[in-house]
């Protein structure tokens, strides 16, 4: 039994924006939808978020294009920029907002990855973050030098070794390594940089790092894994969890209690890990209008082709020849296991049991394929008038369930406009949202303590540099 989460009557809402999911939630077909790759789209979203005093702008990444039934998946947004390269570009035209890059711990050389993250941190004046993701599958590994080398059970072993190596690299430059005078004996003090030597089960690194310390010391660490191993990894290592528990308050409270227990078990203060669930927001003048908008949105997201694709994913068969406005197929689901290794958004558990659930519901409610898929969509949206949504957000944050939200706009690049124009003022009216940035670094925006390796006493294997 985990201890209940204490309420926080003065807690502030933190907001981030996620650009963008390569899933059916982005409505690329809408008349207002713009380019998903043009630099102007990224610039517009990040500027809107910074105007709205967001903590962070968040880029996703996948290292192989998704496939369905052996072919490239063609129904959703496909193609993204390299996250760090894009964020370095945006660092030049922003001054406060945090810049979060999703980067794979499995398929990057640790010293190279740490250097690139440190570079963004320095170039942005201390606004970088790394969303640590892992991949074990050989399908993704087929694009990389080592191939599919990692066993599923070792993916967090690897991630932790890479994170600790990166932290050592970020700690290697002393604060006063660089000369402050043109007459100094050296541009860099010879003892100002420590060589980093790490060996682990999945890596060996011996390097003299080249990137000086950033204003926030280390990039902030995010993580999104929801499995027990993922939660433990987060509790031991990261600053922020990008969770999937943001729609139901009881579920969110249970998740928070679990994370807090794991965090304390890892020797950290209970509130050391912030929780930002991913959500979408549907706003309209009234709650009724917002609900109507949500119904429209879900139909726009689940096109006939997408409904057949999602059904086919559950069934394990290509069902794209069916009529989405007709009944479910007479064929049974395949008895193969869910193959989560093709970049698909979901898929765990017993395929046949899930298919039977879907069939039972369609028969009970008389639903077509598309109606059923729409009905099965997980409702993670905050829907209502700006006042209603603001009240709900504040309730989530002040109950201690979450620290804020990571918003996925469903229209790019203008989908964040109404959040900033309508919702943010409501949050400010409630005294639950900043009216100006008070710091310059992402670590400051999020109210984080110093990096784990820079605290005393720190965890046993960390060393605080002299």
């Amino acid at each position: 039994m985990t201890a209940p989460v204490p309420p926080r009557p003065d807690a502030q809402v933190h907001l981030g924006v996620f650009f963008q999911g390569v899933n059916h939630h982005t409505v690329w077909s809408d008349a207002e939808s713009g380019s998903q790759i043009d630099p102007l789209s990224f610039e517009r979203v990040v500027r809107t978020a910074e105007r709205g005093l967001f903590d962070a702008f968040f880029l996703g990444e996948g290292l192989r294009l998704r496939e369905t039934h052996g072919r490239l998946h063609d129904l959703d947004v496909v193609g993204r920029p390299d996250a760090l390269t894009e964020l370095a570009s945006l660092a030049a035209i922003t001054s406060r907002i945090g810049l979060v890059a999703t980067q794979n711990a499995t398929y990057n050389d640790p010293a190279d990855l740490a250097r690139r993250l440190a570079t963004l941190d320095v170039l942005s004046g201390g606004r970088a973050a790394w969303n640590v993701v892992t991949t074990d599958n050989a399908w993704t590994g087929a694009n990389f030098r080592r191939g599919g080398y990692l066993d599923h059970t070792d993916r967090y072993v690897r991630a932790e070794e890479v994170v600790r190596t990166a932290q050592a690299i970020w700690d290697s430059w002393s604060d006063d390594a660089l000369a402050t005078s043109h007459d100094a004996p050296h541009a860099v003090a010879p003892d100002g940089v420590r060589r980093v030597v790490r060996e682990g089960a999945t890596l060996a690194v011996d390097v003299l790092p080249t990137v000086p310390r950033s204003p926030q010391q280390h990039p902030v660490l995010f993580q999104a894994g929801d499995s027990p191993d993922g939660r433990t990894f987060a509790a031991r290592n990261v600053d922020v969890i990008f969770s999937a528990h943001g729609s139901d308050l009881d579920d969110a409270l249970a998740f928070a209690a679990d994370v807090r227990a794991r965090t304390v078990a890892a020797g950290r203060p209970a509130d050391d890990v912030k929780i930002l669930p991913g959500i979408s927001i549907v706003l309209a003048d009234t709650d009724a209008e917002a609900e109507e908008k949500r119904r429209w949105l879900t139909r726009a997201q689940v096109t006939g082709a997408t409904a057949l694709s999602l059904l086919g994913h559950v069934w394990g068969r290509d069902l794209s020849h069916l009529d989405p406005d007709g009944p479910l197929p007479p064929v049974d689901a395949a008895d193969s296991a869910f193959d989560g290794s093709r970049g698909a958004a979901f898929g765990r558990g017993d395929r046949r049991a899930l298919a039977q659930q879907w069939r039972d519901r369609a028969e009970a409610e008389g639903l077509t394929i598309r109606e059923l898929v729409i009905a099965q969509e997980r409702r993670s949206a905050f829907v209502g008038s700006p006042a209603t949504v603001a009240d709900r957000m504040v309730r989530f944050v002040r109950s201690g369930a979450v620290d804020g939200f990571n918003i996925s706009p469903w229209i790019v690049p203008d989908g964040l406009e109404d959040v900033v124009e309508l919702l943010v003022p409501e949050l400010q009216d409630r005294g639950a949202y900043r009216t100006a940035y008070t710091g310059t670094t992402l670590r400051e925006h999020l109210g984080l303590r110093a990096p784990l390796t820079r605290r005393a006493p720190a965890r046993p294997d960390a060393r605080v540099p002299a």
Partner: protein
């Protein structure tokens, strides 16, 4: 080949001379971070250069620590503060995942609206294998093959998307035409890649690839190097080599180190104060008129010149204020036009997509 001279400048660090930091306007502590890069980016563009190269290596060149940020990210940052100049980060094939590199450079090209280039590097980098925790080719022949194969892989990945692969066909619900995005199936000595790239085809089709002379054999240049950088201690020999390079179908750029007279000191005084250093490229030390005359004489002999300032903060203002304006007035070299791809600025064609050619043939 073009009738004007393309001018490039190297802007890594504080300058070509190892002690250049002593004569910089900022101290080393003040020279790391966004402000340093904002000044460098705008300074190079305002001077009128067609291209800036950003030298880099993942390791210090010796055992002495050296502050250096990742060049692709520096270039990306700089590109968003500029609108005409091209950006060429140096990246070493042995040190990278080719798949990541292709996505990074494609992304730089998208972010810069078609002003990306890649300065291919193959520095010795002792300690690279230990830093990366994996084997890297070390024998000369194996290193050369790695350069060739990584360039080939990266270019192939850039072609893995057709220019018009994103169709946004509302009627069928298809965002891309999957037939216009291809697996690349690269098989090289040290890596394989299934593909396709995660990033759509860059605006230029393929960013400009600059290769220092000597990294490739002559027969390997076509289709791999758009520009060959000829660095030779003797200017005449460099010009002669440039003629060979142009016959291979690549543009030839000459590397030229410059130490100019400034309002405060002559070039000789400046070099004396800095102390002797060894360089392996031709150099010009002197006044503005002499450099203008030299560069004018090189038009027609070479396609471009990359200037390597001895002290960036001292030489760049003279280049910007006097040398490039004189060359522009004389119609020897001109600043790039806004909203122009780097290929257009340099006089390079937009490459056809190899997969279209494979289908056509």
């Amino acid at each position: 080949m073009t009738d004007h001279l393309s001018l490039a400048v190297e802007i890594d660090g504080s300058g070509r001379h190892p002690e250049s930091w002593r004569r910089s306007s900022r101290t080393p502590a003040e020279s790391v971070g966004p402000r340093r890069w904002t000044r460098a980016a705008r300074g190079a563009e305002n001077a009128g250069f067609a291209l800036a190269t950003v030298s880099d290596a993942p390791l210090p060149s010796g055992q002495v620590p050296q502050p250096r940020l990742d060049a692709v990210l520096r270039a990306s940052f700089a590109s968003n503060l500029t609108s005409r100049i091209g950006w060429a980060p140096q990246v070493h094939p042995r040190a990278v995942e080719p798949f990541h590199l292709a996505a990074q450079l494609a992304s730089l090209d998208h972010a810069s609206r078609g002003r990306a280039a890649w300065l291919v590097g193959d520095d010795d980098l002792p300690g690279l294998a230990a830093a990366l925790g994996r084997d890297v080719p070390t024998a000369p022949e194996a290193r050369r093959r790695e350069v060739v194969q990584v360039i080939d892989a990266v270019r192939r990945l850039w072609d893995s998307w057709d220019d018009d692969a994103v169709v946004k066909d509302v009627a069928t619900g298809r965002y891309i035409d999957a037939d216009r995005v291809r697996y690349t199936d690269v098989e090289a000595d040290t890596f394989t890649i299934r593909g396709a790239l995660i990033t759509p085809r860059p605006p230029q089709g393929q960013p400009v690839v600059l290769v220092p002379d000597g990294l490739l054999r002559d027969e390997e240049v076509p289709g791999r190097a758009d520009v060959v950088l000829v660095g030779h201690p003797d200017l005449g020999a460099g010009v002669a080599r440039a003629a060979d390079v142009r016959r291979l179908g690549a543009l030839a750029f000459l590397d030229l180190r410059v130490t100019l007279d400034t309002p405060g000191a002559t070039s000789a005084e400046r070099l004396l104060a800095l102390g002797a250093d060894h360089d392996d490229v031709a150099s010009y030390d002197g006044d503005v008129a002499g450099l203008v005359a030299l560069l004018t004489s090189l038009r027609g002999e070479v396609d471009g010149v990359r200037l390597l300032p001895t002290v960036l903060d001292e030489d760049l203002p003279v280049l910007a204020g006097h040398v490039l304006p004189a060359l522009s007035l004389a119609r020897v070299a001109h600043p790039p036009r806004p909203a122009t791809h780097l290929r257009t600025t340099l006089g390079l064609p937009r490459p056809a997509n190899r997969f279209d050619q494979e289908v056509a043939s």
